[in-house]
Symmetry: C2
Subunit: 209 residues, 2 copies
């Protein structure tokens, strides 16, 4: 809420990465670091790092650099990571299950609160600690659990329907794995991870080398 400055998508992606890198360093006991070290780890330039960090409002000290812990905290504040947000995943296929397994193990900062599918054979069980419900219970469960984020792992043909359902249940942002752009109202944010596209991209880039 109200963080006035607006962050560009690119900067947003990079500061998320910085936070993770810093977390790893902190876990290894590193107390401070320089912009050029962070740049090295993030694969970009020191100037880029310093420019990105401007939006957090955090200042390092010349000659000493940044204090790892302080910078992490400042990035967390910038990212509004105060209240933990809950996620609903729709589409308990191979990819959906992989994501359930992936997250409810290793990410303490997020939790997938519930999973849904329209296939009766996939529901009423628990995968990686996450309860699976039939899609007809979607809206009530979302409201009951206070879910604000959605993950779409259904086939392209039903992705838009699922997105519409998420929007009307009050979900504020959607991460879509189906290879089709979603139409959502402007008060909802939709991002897409398109694995096929990523492959075609590297195939092209391999072909020109």
């Amino acid at each position: 809420m109200g963080n006035a400055r607006k962050i560009s998508m690119k900067t947003l992606e990079r500061i998320v990465l910085y936070k993770r890198i810093l977390g790893d360093l902190a876990a290894k006991g590193q107390k401070t670091l320089y912009s050029h070290q962070l740049a090295e780890l993030a694969h970009n330039s020191p100037a880029q790092v310093r420019r990105d960090l401007m939006i957090t409002g955090y200042s390092g000290t010349p000659r000493r650099g940044y204090t790892t812990e302080d910078l992490i905290k400042k990035i967390s504040v910038t990212l509004n990571e105060t209240a933990e947000q809950k996620i609903a995943l729709v589409g308990i296929g191979n990819l959906g299950r992989a994501i359930l397994a992936y997250f409810n193990y290793q990410q303490p900062s997020f939790s997938i609160a519930a999973a849904f599918d329209s296939d009766e054979t996939r529901v009423d069980r628990v995968i990686a600690g996450c309860r699976c419900y039939h899609l007809r219970e979607f809206e009530s469960k979302v409201k009951e659990l206070g879910v604000t984020l959605g993950i779409v792992t259904v086939p392209a043909s039903s992705a838009q329907t699922v997105a519409d359902m998420m929007v009307s249940a009050g979900i504020k942002a959607i991460l879509n794995f189906a290879p089709v752009p979603l139409k959502v109202p402007s008060n909802v944010f939709a991002d897409r991870i398109d694995i096929t596209m990523a492959l075609e991209k590297i195939a092209y880039l391999a072909s020109i080398k």
Copy 2:
């Protein structure tokens, strides 16, 4: 190979999307379309579409628009999709298996030629039509099968080691799902799909709405 014009990443991503949209339309029997229709489906502007299509060298005809089939062909040529490229996937965990299942079903243009893992309990079997080998056989199998692309679905801690292995086996481009940027020589291309980052991103964007 010699396609002189260089395509920006952004344009590359979009023309891959255009091709898929066009394929769907062609399958439904649509013979022609206008830039504004393609823009609508791709969620961008007509001017953007026309600008992107410039690099393919294909020209539509005023008043009639683009011929679906011709445009698809022209995009394929632009993307150097002549020879089918083969993929090696390393990391037969949940995500790796999901990707194997996903691709060897529905993507005729790619094939994952082999999968690898360092865990003995995960190898010497077939998943979704794909043979799984121990990582020690990596280089010989890559060369035997003519693999040019790599997918990394191992944990962050071993991603760089796997990438180095891919590079020395002669792989030309890598798609990395581990949440860490890979260091590769400049004649190899590495792209990353970072699911955790994508989630943190939508979490932030939900928080400011």
